[in-house]
């Protein structure tokens, strides 16, 4: 469903000349699966997911969503994907209903299908009581719900949640995870990026650890636990980062990098 192959993104940078935000990252996610992209801030998660949502173009490698290449067929990719990010806010001067309807129309849904989908999404996310509330008056939790509604109104097979739980209180975050789990039940292919271990443990079928733009490890939690001989996921995560830092400094000393 989603396939990233040696995905690389480099930016020109004043300080270092070139900043490699994403370095040959590869992963695959199938339908009905939640893939957790885990990494500290600045690891490259947002860059990877922005490439999948076609707002950024990779400088190397390729990525396919629902069989469409993100560079050559961005239009088709955007139809197949629902993108929720901490950077994708909702409009202050639009009500929840108007906002979701607007995006439904942009996704090309005809009136009948749009009405049916809107009703379903609003019911599914329990949003009927906020349908006429303007964005500026909503709480963070309400806003997040509207964002999700906006992303799933066209019923896309792939959903991307980039740090979607950022800034949510514990109740709302829990509700969000339940919604995402519900979407998995519908057979959606979901990529969920976070830096919170608990969320990964609760939700993800497989995880990829991203650090300094590189994929350190990927697999099911059990596989990783076996591989690193560590049952505590948080400990395992820290070890991976430390190993990576050590390896990086060794490489630098040897003049490889």
């Amino acid at each position: 469903m989603v396939e990233a192959h040696h995905l690389t993104k480099a930016y020109p940078d004043l300080q270092t000349g070139q900043f490699i935000a994403l370095n040959q990252v590869s992963f695959q996610v199938g339908p009905g699966e939640i893939f957790g992209l885990l990494g500290p801030n600045g690891a490259g998660k947002t860059t990877a997911l922005r490439i999948l949502s076609t707002v950024l173009k990779p400088t190397g490698g390729y990525a396919r969503v629902n069989g469409f290449d993100v560079v050559t067929h961005p239009y088709e990719v955007r139809h197949s994907i629902g993108f929720v990010s901490s950077n994708t806010a909702i409009y202050d001067r639009m009500t929840a209903w108007e906002m979701v309807e607007y995006f439904g129309k942009l996704y090309g849904l005809d009136a009948e299908r749009l009405a049916e989908r809107m009703d379903r999404v609003f019911t599914q996310l329990q949003m009927h009581d906020i349908r006429d509330v303007a964005g500026a008056r909503m709480s963070t939790g309400m806003k997040q719900k509207v964002s999700i509604a906006r992303a799933i109104v066209h019923d896309p097979p792939v959903l991307v949640f980039d740090e979607a739980s950022l800034g949510l209180d514990i109740l709302v975050a829990r509700a969000l995870l339940e919604i995402i789990a519900g979407l998995r039940e519908e057979g959606k292919c979901i990529i969920f990026s976070t830096h919170i271990m608990r969320e990964v443990e609760r939700l993800c079928d497989r995880v990829g650890i991203l650090y300094h733009g590189r994929m350190l490890a990927a697999g099911t939690l059990q596989d990783l636990a076996l591989q690193y001989d560590e049952s505590d996921f948080e400990e395992m995560f820290f070890r991976m980062l430390q190993d990576s830092d050590r390896q990086l400094s060794t490489e630098r000393c040897q003049g490889i990098l």
Binding site: D13, L14, V55, I81, A89, Y102
Partner: protein, 772 residues
């Protein structure tokens, strides 16, 4: 392009903006309040000027000639015919002249009067000195005495202001007294014995001064008439000519003229501001609020988003301009009506309501202009990360566009081919012609204006779309920036050739250098040595040095950065032939341009002096200095470093156009700039096709050599060699190309260009291989 998306985005953005109170206030409420408020203020000021009663202290009213008194029995101004209203608004405080008439006492009196005015005790003080009356009589006597020759009679008429006519009886008496030494009292140098003290920094004092002057002027005129009549001279003598003025213009056209100058300016300034604020909100504001990324990840393509936003901004730009226009016009209408009802018919006839058809033409102008400004504002606003940052970009945008909007306000500029080519201004000139009813002129220039305006709109739109497609612009993060970091980055990340930014920077450096060099050179050129020195300095220091230095320090391969490579033999042949064959067209172009944009007298005399100084030198020196040197320096700069930098990432069109413009701008005279820009396009094309700078050096050098040689031969009366008769003819001393050769040369030029284009494939491979 999915227009349904554009429509959806447009509707949403419109709704969004209409729900924003700030936008509505700036766009709709402000203009509706602004002009009535301004109008009220103006009316208040006018009313103050009209109805304020001024107080004037008159010191020494008893010294005024009793024959024609200024004040009545109540010590107030006697109303003169036609000045009743003014007189009523002047309150006089009469003070007798002090009995002590020593110079010290006079100085004291003057000081006290000044202090009274400064302290605002009275609005003005009129000092009538005791000798005022006798001086008046003396003048009358003098005037009557010098009446004898007919010439001086006329003089009296001309200088009535200074020389009052004399009463015959008084004149006789005084002439008897002063007959011995009349020449010792030169009339024009005698003081009048009248002094008006006012503080012109204060409005009320200014009004007092103006009213009293009016009354005194009228009194003086009456006095002159009565004196002349008494002396038996026809008073008409002081006004020997009565001019009957007939205005052929219809008052509506006259009004149209005035409005057609003011309204486009006001309208376009509001169109720009009306576009800018929504543009900031729709780009920077959305970036800040995080909603832009939501939209960018939706199925709408970037160009559809740009179109949707552009339409919204245009609507607000048009709306803002129209509302301002109407509000201003309505307010002006009301004020003018008010003024007319108070008797100011003159103002009313000039400022009266604008003809209704003019509105139609203005709206027609507004639509493309609003589109252009909106696209510009959108592209500029896209750069900003936040609304606050966006506000900073308003000033540079205004600096670029305001001169274009203000240009048509300059007097004596009219619609012609030259002005119609200027973006924005051309369209304003066209609409002005339409408003003033000069339809033929407008129709003739319509295609050019439409073409220029359409090109501007298209370019601005393309820029806006490119901004939205650029990741660096849309997802710009706040970088840590410092000069040291930047310098390090320039050195560390330098490429084989210059970057487009470095190329533009180099071009701007040269232009700024040329600007200052012009001032220095202009004041020092007086002989050939100074011309030679300034040419060498300009070419080497100002044009060549910046690009060579930049190539050395900012690129890894200065040779490639300056585009120096061995050309193919066939290209050299083609370049030589183009150089020779293109010259007649270039000469024709030059004379065509100077016909359209006439060279001013001053410029042309400077050019002539320059030419005569240069052409008196031996030919080989001139060629070395004015053909070889500029060809090498200018080509290395413009078709070398700048062109190479702009060529990055398939920017051939950009490289050709921008390098040609830079090349044009470095020429001081406008006509030369235009010709050089066009020539620059051709040189750019050759530079692109041949992959290097050496062929264009050849073309440039040959072109200059031919121009200089022909001018030199003409100036030094060299007769035309018979073997050149087929191409060149002489008119007097001047050498000109024969029309048949011009036709053939155009054909040869085109043929050589075809050769360059056809052989280009292998060249590009060679160059690419070299670059790799």
């Amino acid at each position: 392009m999915n227009w349904k998306h554009v429509h959806l985005i447009f509707l949403r953005e419109m709704n969004d903006q209409l729900r924003d109170r700030r936008t509505l206030f700036t766009i709709a409420i402000l203009p509706m309040l602004l002009y009535p408020l301004l109008g009220m203020l103006m009316m208040q000021i006018a009313q103050f000027h009209r109805e304020y009663t001024v107080s004037i202290r008159v010191v020494g009213a008893e010294n005024w000639p009793a024959r024609s008194p200024l004040l009545d029995a109540h010590q107030q101004l006697i109303p003169l015919p036609g000045l009743e209203k003014i007189t009523r608004l002047v309150e006089i405080e009469a003070v007798p002249w002090p009995s002590d008439d020593s110079p010290e006492a006079r100085a004291k009196l003057e000081q006290a009067s000044r202090a009274a005015v400064m302290a605002d005790v009275v609005d003005a003080v009129l000092l009538i000195e005791p000798e005022f009356d006798s001086l008046l009589q003396l003048r009358a006597a003098h005037a009557t005495q010098s009446d004898a020759p007919p010439d001086s009679t006329q003089e009296v008429g001309q200088d009535t202001e200074q020389r009052a006519g004399g009463n015959a009886r008084l004149a006789a008496e005084i002439s008897a007294e002063k007959a011995t030494e009349p020449a010792q009292v030169p009339v024009s140098e005698t003081e009048d014995g009248l002094e008006l003290i006012a503080n012109l920094a204060r409005d009320n004092s200014k009004i007092a001064q103006a009213r009293l002057s009016t009354v005194l002027d009228q009194w003086r005129a009456n006095w002159v008439v009565s004196q002349l009549s008494a002396a038996g001279v026809n008073p008409r003598l002081v006004e020997p000519i009565m001019l009957t003025e007939t205005d052929t213009s219809v008052s509506s056209v006259r009004r149209a003229m005035l409005w057609s100058k003011i309204l486009p300016f006001v309208m376009l300034v509001w169109a720009l501001t009306g576009a800018f604020y929504p543009a900031i909100d729709l780009c920077a504001g959305e970036k800040e609020r995080g909603t832009l990324e939501t939209l960018l990840s939706s199925p709408a393509r970037r160009r559809e988003i740009v179109w949707g936003k552009l339409l919204t901004i245009s609507v607000f730009s048009i709306g803002s301009a129209l509302l301002n226009l109407m509000s201003m016009h309505l307010t002006a209408g009301i004020i003018v009506k008010q003024l007319a009802s108070q008797g100011s018919t003159e103002i009313a006839s000039v400022l009266g309501p604008m003809p209704i058809h003019a509105f139609g033409w203005l709206v027609l102008l507004l639509i493309p202009m609003a589109a252009f400004f909106s696209a510009l504002a959108l592209a500029v606003a896209a750069l900003a990360r936040s609304t606050k940052e966006g506000q900073y970009y308003l000033m540079p945008l205004l600096m670029v566009t305001l001169p274009l909007v203000a240009l048509p306000m300059l007097p004596s500029l009219q619609l012609n081919l030259g002005t119609s080519l200027v973006p924005v201004s051309g369209a304003v000139f066209l609409v002005r012609s339409l408003i003033e009813g000069r339809y033929t002129e407008a129709v003739v220039h319509l295609p050019v204006v439409v073409l220029v305006t359409a090109a501007c709109c298209w370019l601005a739109l393309r820029w806006a779309i490119r901004q939205f497609e650029s990741e660096a612009v849309m997802f710009r993060e706040a970088d840590r920036w410092s000069v040291k970091l930047w310098m390090r980055h320039l050195w560390r990340d330098r490429g084989d050739t210059a970057s487009p930014t470095e190329a533009v920077l180099c071009g701007l450096t040269i232009i700024i250098g040329m600007f200052f060099a012009q001032f220095v050179a202009g004041s020092t050129i007086h002989d050939f040595t100074s011309i030679a020195t300034s040419t060498v300095i300009v070419q080497i220091a100002i044009i060549l040095t910046p690009c060579v230095l930049m190539a050395l320090f900012l690129t890894r391969s200065p040779r490639r950065a300056l585009r120096i490579h061995r050309p193919q033999f066939s290209h050299v042949v083609a370049a030589v032939m183009i150089g020779v064959a293109m010259h007649p067209s270039y000469m024709a172009l030059g004379s065509g341009i100077s016909q359209v944009y006439e060279i001013g007298e001053e410029t042309s005399s400077v050019l002539q002096m320059f030419q005569s100084l240069v052409l008196s030198q031996p030919l080989w020196i001139i060629l070395l200095l004015m053909a070889a040197l500029p060809a090498i320096c200018e080509e290395l700069a413009f078709r070398g470093f700048i062109f190479g930098g702009l060529l990055h990432k398939n920017g051939a069109l950009r490289a050709i156009v921008v390098s040609a413009l830079f090349f044009g701008f470095t020429h001081p005279v406008l006509q030369q700039s235009i010709a050089a820009s066009l020539m620059g396009l051709m040189l750019g094309l050759i530079a692109w096709r041949t992959g290097g700078v050496l062929c264009t050096i050849l073309v440039h050098a040959i072109n200059n050599t031919l121009s200089l040689t022909m001018a030199w031969c003409a100036a030094n009366h060299v007769s035309l060699p018979a073997r050149l008769n087929w191409a060149v003819s002489t008119q007097g001393d001047a050498w000109t190309y024969r029309p048949e050769w011009i036709a053939i040369s155009v054909f040869i030029t085109l043929a050589m260009l075809v050769v360059l284009f056809r052989r280009n494939a292998d060249t590009r491979q060679v160059v690419q291989a070299e670059m790799a």
